[in-house]
């Protein structure tokens, strides 16, 4: 349905250059998105997907001062002469990091804030907040404190808060990254419903299989690589015609399976880590997330910990790592844990030092450092400060340091990793899983948290689900 002739988004010869490094981030982008169109944006990490979304919502150049040339129009208005707030009348942005959009202590106020900003009649706000919450199955959270919610619930709240004012263009940068299966369906439903017949959706998403099987893939796909549009057309056509190139770039495409990892044979030796009668609470005097559980992790095992949002997967891992006071016994070799936010674990001022921190300085270790950093593509970053890397590079660095510690500190031990493939493209995910498998096969073991069922099915030798105080 094309009710007006003006396209909702129009870029003509749009180019963005980082003035400090002179790096061309977007080059000669020509893109038109009409009313009623839904568009999937594909590309490897660092290809420029997020930069393109930021250009459309005006963050570039208004908040991130890049040198831009060419034109960018939103509903006919030039982005360059409209503030981000002005543009928000047309453009809604579902944030990549939902925690970073929460401003107020109560869920109700958080969603109402967007409506207040847009001058919605106060008499309508209450009903609209209810409806928005219900659309993501979060009615029960109306009077909850935002601080107490888990990542997945925060993501749902942030999504409806971002789209509360019913913008006609919705930009969504991995809107389901922290969600379990039910959450993915609910959020995608909201995104498609809110854009309706007349709006437009531009979606960056890695979980394409879940999308294809559930709400369906957008009809149009745009592929960008190194800042340039490589392909633009009907999704099925683009995916077939460019299959090889997408494969070579390591982009997630629907239907491409992860390799099946062989099951490992377990020895009768004592487990690397043994928990008995374990009861774990996230904080003293709070209901436990698991009660009286027994858990053995043997050498060679690859365990995936799953469970709905907010069930306490991270807390369980921290308890196994010995970082939380628990009731019960945990015996065995002290494990190594990789945290969800890579920045939390950086201790040095260069990638080179970070990789070698706390390790023996022998030839074997040095070889392992070189091999792993090359395999995961962070070898060329040695001189950089870890805090200045891109999101994907930070994640790879933090898991590599964890792997090295688990392998080379004293004797091989269990590596506990909280979402080690979060935000990685397919190529990096596959390499990461290969390396985790290699660690398990060389007398270690790996326990990861993931929301991705396919990944768990293909890779894990055992899947544990945390649910209502027990492990299944």
């Amino acid at each position: 349905m094309r009710s007006t002739p003006t396209p909702l988004v129009e870029l003509r010869g749009f180019t963005a250059v980082d003035p400090r490094s002179q790096r061309v981030l977007l080059e000669d982008i020509n893109l038109t998105v009409d009313h009623g169109e839904q568009l999937l944006l594909l590309g490897a990490s660092g290809a420029g997907k997020s930069i393109l979304l930021n250009a459309i919502r005006g963050v570039i150049p208004h908040s991130v001062p890049l040198h831009i040339s060419g034109d960018c129009f939103v509903a006919g208005k030039p982005v360059i002469t409209n503030t981000v707030a002005d543009l928000s009348r047309t453009v809604g942005n579902v944030p990549q990091d939902p925690h970073a959009s929460i401003t107020l202590p109560l869920v109700e106020d958080e969603i109402a804030l967007t409506l207040e900003n847009h001058g919605v009649d106060p008499a309508e706000i209450g009903a609209r907040v209810h409806k928005l919450l219900a659309s993501v199955d979060a009615d029960h959270l109306l009077h909850h404190r935002t601080q107490s919610l888990s990542g997945g619930w925060i993501q749902r709240i942030a999504t409806v808060a971002a789209l509360a004012a019913q913008p006609s263009v919705v930009l969504a940068d991995e809107p389901t990254s922290m969600l379990d299966g039910a959450g993915v369906a609910a959020v995608m439903q909201v995104l498609t419903e809110l854009t309706g017949d007349d709006g437009a959706l531009i979606l960056v998403e890695h979980r394409l299989d879940e999308l294809a099987e559930g709400p369906g893939l957008p009809e149009r796909t745009v592929v960008i690589d190194a800042g340039r549009i490589q392909a633009d057309g009907p999704t099925r056509q683009v995916l077939t015609e460019h299959a090889n190139q997408l494969e070579a770039n390591g982009v997630w495409t629907p239907g491409v399976r992860l390799p099946e990892y062989p099951t490992s044979t377990l020895t009768d030796a004592a487990p690397l880590l043994r928990a008995r009668n374990l009861t774990v609470r996230p904080a003293p005097k709070v209901d436990p997330i698991v009660t009286n559980i027994d858990l053995d992790i043997h050498a060679g095992e690859r365990v995936a910990v799953m469970g709905a949002n907010g069930t306490g997967k991270t807390t369980l891992l921290m308890a196994l790592a010995g970082l939380l006071p628990v009731d019960g016994d945990i015996t065995g070799r002290p494990p190594v844990m990789v945290f969800q936010n890579p920045e939390h674990q950086f201790l040095t001022h260069s990638v080179h030092d970070e990789l070698r921190f706390g390790l023996n300085t022998d030839a074997a270790t040095e070889t392992a450092v070189q091999r792993l950093s090359t395999a995961l593509g962070i070898d060329h970053l040695a001189e950089l400060n870890p805090f200045r890397l891109s999101g994907g590079e930070k994640r790879r660095l933090s898991v590599v340091t964890g792997l090295l510690a688990a392998q080379h500190r004293a004797e091989p031990t269990v590596l506990l990793a909280d979402e080690p493939t979060f935000g990685l493209d397919r190529a990096a995910t596959t390499t990461m899983l290969d390396e985790l498998t290699a660690h398990a096969n060389s007398d270690g073991a790996v326990v990861i948290i993931t929301h991705d069922h396919r990944l768990a099915d293909a890779w894990a030798t055992r899947t544990i689900t945390v649910t209502q105080g027990a492990l299944v």
Binding site: R57, V59, S63, T83, V84, A85, D86, S88, R89, V91, G92, N93, P95, D97, H99, A100, S101, I102, T103, L104, P105, L106, D109, A112, L113, T114, L115, E116, N117, H118, G119, V120, D121, P122, I125, T146, Q147, A162, A164, A165, A283, P284, M318, A321, G322, L323, P325, P334, V336, M337, F339, N341, E343, Q345, F346, L347, F357, G358, T401, A405
Partner: protein, 248 residues
Amino acid sequence: MTTLTLQHPSTLVEPGAITRWNPSVKLITLFVVSVSMLFIWEPIRPALLWAALVIIALTIGNVPARWLAFAHIPFIAFGFGLFLVNVLARAEDGVVIGAALAGRTLVIGVASILFLTSTAPVDLMRSLNQNLKLPASITFAVLAGYQLLLGLPKEWQTIRAAQVMRHGGAKLNRKGKPKLTIKDAGRLVFTVLIVALRRSERIATSLESRGFGLKPRTVYRPIRVHAGDVVVGLVVCLFAVAYCLPWI
């Protein structure tokens, strides 16, 4: 490891009559009471006023006695300092003036405690914005910063745990508790600051993307100034001025 939390005093106290008093009017009244105390130069009237305020705090203020006593510590310390300086510096009237100043400190102290325990930050900021027309850009910036601050203790603990992990476990001190060396603390502070800075940048852009700064804004749950709020405020202010001025 105990769990660090940061809580506003208002979340620890059962809301009562003083909570329902309009925050802006309450703030102005607090200011008037504090200013009128400047005219008192003898110790009896502050002492009586202090006693009255303590009784109000313990009864309609719902402030737990223990909590009130703890909150007094800084004011008592400061008041005692004032008293001592005056006793030593002024031979003739040092005791009287010192006691008056110390009493003044305690009165303003209890009044502030009453204000804090009865006013949620969000209500205060909304009221300043709606009733006193302070720009929304300021009040919401304060609120967003305050939310960030509340999250910092948890962030601090997670980062500490994450860094301890990198060290292969914490070094223990003589009592068997994890030891935080100066170098560790430096790294910890650095990371906490970076993470907080990143987050505040993202909050700012995200607020803008949600239309913050557009005009006109509407208000979902308006904080109203009722006639009762103003009458109570005026009565308290007039009483304070009359009680404190030297000609009475």
